[in-house]
Amino acid sequence: MAIIKTTDLTYIYNAGLPTQTTAIKDINIEIEEGAFVGVIGHTGSGKSTLIQHLNGLLRPTSGKVYIDGRDIWAHKEQIRQVRFDVGLVFQYPEYQLFEETVYKDIAFGPGNMDLSDSEIDSRVKQAAEAVELSPADLQKSPFELSGGQKRRAAIAGVLAMEPKILILDEPTAGLDPRGRDTILKLITRYHQEKKNTILLVSHSMEDVAKFASKVLVMSDTGVLMYDTVQAVFSHAQQIRQIGLSIPQITQIFIQLADRGYPVPRNVYSVEQGVHEIQKLLQGREGGKP
């Protein structure tokens, strides 16, 4: 059964005002449990609006959201429980840090869940470990940390709630390449260990191709495609039409294939690319008289 399901989900901002805009329209998706989904789309395509519906921050103008088969708005007073089940990490999450110490800040989420003190403590420590923050860092003020550490502390604040579904809105925005790699590595490891469902909103096709198992493409308030990485990026033309790109390595291989080299067109990671090139070169050497 799909862990996330939406039916005819529509949301309109500022309904009735001159500034009225439809953010998403008639969205129908089903996401399987344990999937690692990359969400891509242009600014204003409705990505952020969609993900804010999945944990009940926005209430649909029409349509329904089902998490684990339950309509999340069936019981309005239980909407907080939905937020514990569906952890949402916003863009630039470090701007939400507010406590005196990193430890207390990470404990804010689990603290809202009526857990015992020992349970909160173990969750904070586990979450800190998952994002590679040292016990010494936990006692610091969040404002003393570096940019990348702040970001990781903020993500830990959501991980500590142990959500079944984790949604990250551009978790690497504004970080340097090393910070970016660290965050992505941590998220992948977390996914492999916990086997939970992850939605990663990203502008980087490379990251999506490398880490995600499925891709959700949004365009102009709707879902254009929801399929495996291979299937989505094989529609290179269509992806380009809506102003998105395909991974650089894929572009290179498509061009090589166009020029007559015997290489596949469906190469999505640099590792795979290296392998294919080696195969090509070896084939040539072997073929030489």
Binding site: Y13, N14, G16, L17, P18, T19, Q52, N55, L57, R80, R83, F84, G87, L88, F90, P93, Y95, Q96, L97, F98, F108, G109, N112, M113, F143, G157, V158, M161
Partner: protein, 267 residues
């Protein structure tokens, strides 16, 4: 929810009201407020309401927007209305224990409510049709004579510009921080007073931090562009009075005179 606030909002447009010089609009708005308080007759109020309806029609702003902007003042209107209803002496219409309603009281309650509603709707129209930048520009020019008395006119206008400029930004930021904390299970809708005040801490602290950060960045950006206060500063967009302003002033003067004359009508 927090985005629904429309007071102080500006709606872009090209109507006659949008094209008017901000100085004219400011002065005419003030004139309108003064006249509202001078009015003392039913025809006068009808004229005042008629003028408002005409202006809103001209500016292409719908009834829904007006009703939204009036929502926050409903308690005030009810409060003044009810107070006036019970505490003005005159011909008693109804009474029970220590409460009594008089004919004059009812009349005053109605008039005060209309006054407040016209006041809010009239001043809202100014911000609906004038961009914040134009508004403070107009204000600066209007207050310019005060600079001779060493009154910091430019600084005041700049402060207002920056404040107005950052209100939407801060509203958006508050919205975002609230969403982020709600995602971590923050509960702002239930509980007693103390619990609710405590629930504000996770929102206010990040908001303060980011306001300081923004102020710092803005100061730096201004300095990078050699901002050194108002002295010798020229403007890209000069303000010009035109035919629209003349016409608007004439219409306004006529209607104001009409409203005041209504006070002396033998009714």
């Amino acid at each position: 929810m927090i985005r629904d606030i429309t007071i102080g909002q500006y709606f872009t447009g090209h109507s006659a009201l949008h094209r008017m010089d901000p100085r004219t609009k400011l002065v005419l708005t003030i004139a309108y407020i003064v006249v509202l308080f001078l009015t003392d007759s039913l025809p006068g109020y009808l004229l005042a309401i008629g003028l408002l309806v005409l202006c809103y029609k001209l500016a292409h702003i719908g009834l829904k927007v007006i009703l939204r902007s009036l929502k926050p003042v409903i308690p005030l209107v009810l409060f003044t209305g009810i107070l006036n209803m019970f505490f003005i002496s005159g011909d008693v219409l109804w009474h029970w224990w220590i409460f009594r309603i008089t004919q004059q009281g009812l009349y005053f309650a109605a008039i005060m409510s209309v006054r407040i509603i016209c006041l809010i709707a009239g001043t809202s129209l100014l911000t609906y049709t004038t961009s914040p930048i134009a508004l403070t520009d107009g204000l600066e020019r209007l207050l310019a004579p005060l600079a001779k008395l060493h009154f910091p006119v430019h600084e005041l206008a700049m402060m207002m510009t920056i404040t107005l400029r950052f209100i939407p930004t801060l509203v958006e930021e508050t919205d975002k921080i609230m969403s982020a904390q709600k995602s971590r299970g923050a509960d702002m809708e239930t509980g007693g007073l103390i619990k609710r005040v405590k629930a504000l801490v996770p929102i206010l602290i990040p908001l303060f931090v980011s306001s300081f950060r923004r102020a710092d960045e803005l100061a730096l950006a201004m300095e990078c562009r050699c901002y050194r206060g108002g002295e010798g500063r020229t403007r890209m967009r000069q303000l010009h009075m035109g035919g629209v302003d003349l016409a608007a002033t004439a219409v306004m003067a006529l209607i104001c005179a009409g409203i005041i004359l209504c006070n002396y009508l033998p009714l």
